[in-house]
Symmetry: C3
């Protein structure tokens, strides 16, 4: 265990507002010894799917018992609940809006608490900024060792986004979608290594189709591709990606998040 | 008091330059034990009003005696002074250009020092980067416990921006302006809760007017609004905002920072 | 020496991805006591020259023995090597792609190690994310005191970009190029103070030429310039800049990185 507890922090608050600073201050006012680790604050506004994907991409690299705070909260101030989720390895704080969907899929969940203990909140609570007034102090108290049962009742009806990963649509053909487009223009598909492995895995001649373009070249890393060539490969997040060497595949293919992607497992003869 | 002192750091230096790293290194070279907390580095270039607003939005959430460094410094290298401001609760470092205006309004100021003690500077001092060569080492020395009187004489003629908050322009009608547009497209007006409360507060039927559009619906939180509906509400910064549920109100209204906003306190019959 | 070791971290990973968080987690999993200092994560994708310039702009401000991690890695997963570079003052980790070129120019290099000791890697190693799976754990182990010889053999044939700084092209005329355009629109040229000093230094009447515009006014700081006036001055990075007071000189001159810049040392009579 680190001598000073760790809280990771992701949000759609941006890097030109007071929001990130205000959350950090509110955490440190409860526990001045905690270390806050910025992960990603330029998540597109209100974008729960990107937030879920980003959190899923890093939480697992942190030491056991790290506290992960993720705030993308379009329904802030409404009756949507605030969650504290204890898994066998980590603790997560986020609004009950689906942001933790991939955590619920991947982690062994011990307890999910709906935060209600308002004596732990920062006062007065702004109905538009629970990140500062509820999540931050709760994260601070957890980092000081307070048991999460102190914050409210255990619940089981928390919200999960259903992400259609890989739907069979024909003989050896699966349909998925564009899960994410990263800063480099790499197109992350919803086909995970695990889901494809269960269906027999990729084969010689497997290919992807996006926006009526067939992508047939499988590589291990981006640099294997020729100039402007479209490639597919297993990305570092565990999902297959469509990419191009030092080029933005998203631009070449005019790809957008949510677009359909087909995966033909067996060569098209 | 935290075992390691805290320095918050905001600037318009951006997240693709060496400037932020250089300031941090110069602080840590003076006091390797200090903890630097990034708040916001994508403040628009030279934008003192945004910097003042952003700093005002977070400083108060931090533990007592936190050191707050904010560098937006269009006159760097000229004869504008560098300030250290001690208030009853915090310490602030910034150029003497109005950036601390809201701090001077809100905090009980004990001392304002004009930094002159160049034996504490990083050498040689670049005339274009006092953030690195003057503010950073001074912040470092303060975090080590050096009394701020060591840095120069006390002054009283520091610069304050005069921000017209709410000017009466007719029977029950106030004129203000757009103070800030945030990442979500929320339009923060210059009408603060305090100033409006002094005038009797908002009433049933109060409305805002911006760009010839009347905004009549008051809500507690964004999520109460219908799709594309324009709303007003009290924002987490203590100012009234014009907003829309999951939409950018700034785009709907074609709003720009500095535009006039009218507030009609009593219903228009 | 600080009680907790420092690792600075720059990358082109952006602030809306999981990449930055994943690297930090992988470092902290090896050494939970280390302090990671974000410097710049919005370096343009794959842009080695900007990465080299940014790193060169801050490393020197940090305490001795700081570990500097910089990951811009277009050839990730190919046979390009991963480097650990020990100089008399600092330690650097980066891909062997030229990113460290300015470090090799400026620092007294003691040892350059090609990382090969895969028992220190995070497993499984993704061929597309060595930042997380190789650089991060190696940085973590170095911060725990492991000697860098543990990671692989010493090499001497590491990659250096050759940056043409100042080429004489006529009587008292030098040709350079636009090295960097910063967030403020300041145009950093490849003419360094040192290189120009060796040629006798700037004189009364020296002038720059970019995009067929002659810039004749030398100032000490931006604020000396009139509205829209083009200026040149010695920037805080040690290179001469073309700038304008509170305006983006890059926009006035339609300047792009890589463009030719001429410097006429002696007045044009």
């Amino acid at each position: 265990m680190p001598s000073h507890p760790l809280i990771t922090f992701a949000s759609d608050f941006g890097t030109r507002e007071y929001y990130v600073g205000a959350v950090k201050g509110a955490i440190l006012s409860v526990n001045p010894e905690v270390r806050i680790v910025d992960t990603s604050h330029e998540i597109p506004s209100h974008d729960l799917l990107t937030a879920a994907f980003v959190l899923a991409g890093y939480y697992d690299t942190f030491p056991l018992r790290t506290i992960h705070l993720a705030v993308v909260d379009p329904e802030v101030g409404s009756n949507r609940r605030a969650l504290v989720v204890q898994t066998s390895r980590h603790i997560f704080l986020a609004p009950d809006n689906g942001l933790l969907s991939l955590i619920f899929e991947r982690e062994e969940v011990s307890r999910v608490i709906a935060v209600e203990a308002d004596h732990h909140y920062r006062k007065p609570v702004s109905p538009t900024f629970h990140g500062r007034d509820i999540f931050a102090p709760v994260a601070g108290w957890i980092s000081k060792g307070l048991d999460i049962s102190a914050f409210g009742p255990e619940i089981t009806d928390y919200k999960k986004l259903t992400l259609p990963g890989a739907k069979p649509v024909g003989e050896g053909v699966l349909e998925g979608f564009v899960l994410h487009i990263d800063k480099f223009g790499n197109i992350v598909t919803s086909f995970s290594e695990t889901s494809i492995a269960q269906l027999g895995g990729l084969q010689e001649g497997s290919s992807f189709n996006l926006n009526d373009r067939e992508i047939t070249r499988q590589v291990g890393c981006y640099a294997e591709g020729g100039d402007g060539e479209l490639l597919f490969l297993l990305g570092s997040s565990g999902y297959y990606e469509i990419a191009s060497n030092k080029k933005a595949a998203s631009r070449i293919l005019d790809a957008r998040r949510g677009m359909k992607v087909a995966l033909r497992l067996i060569a098209n003869r």
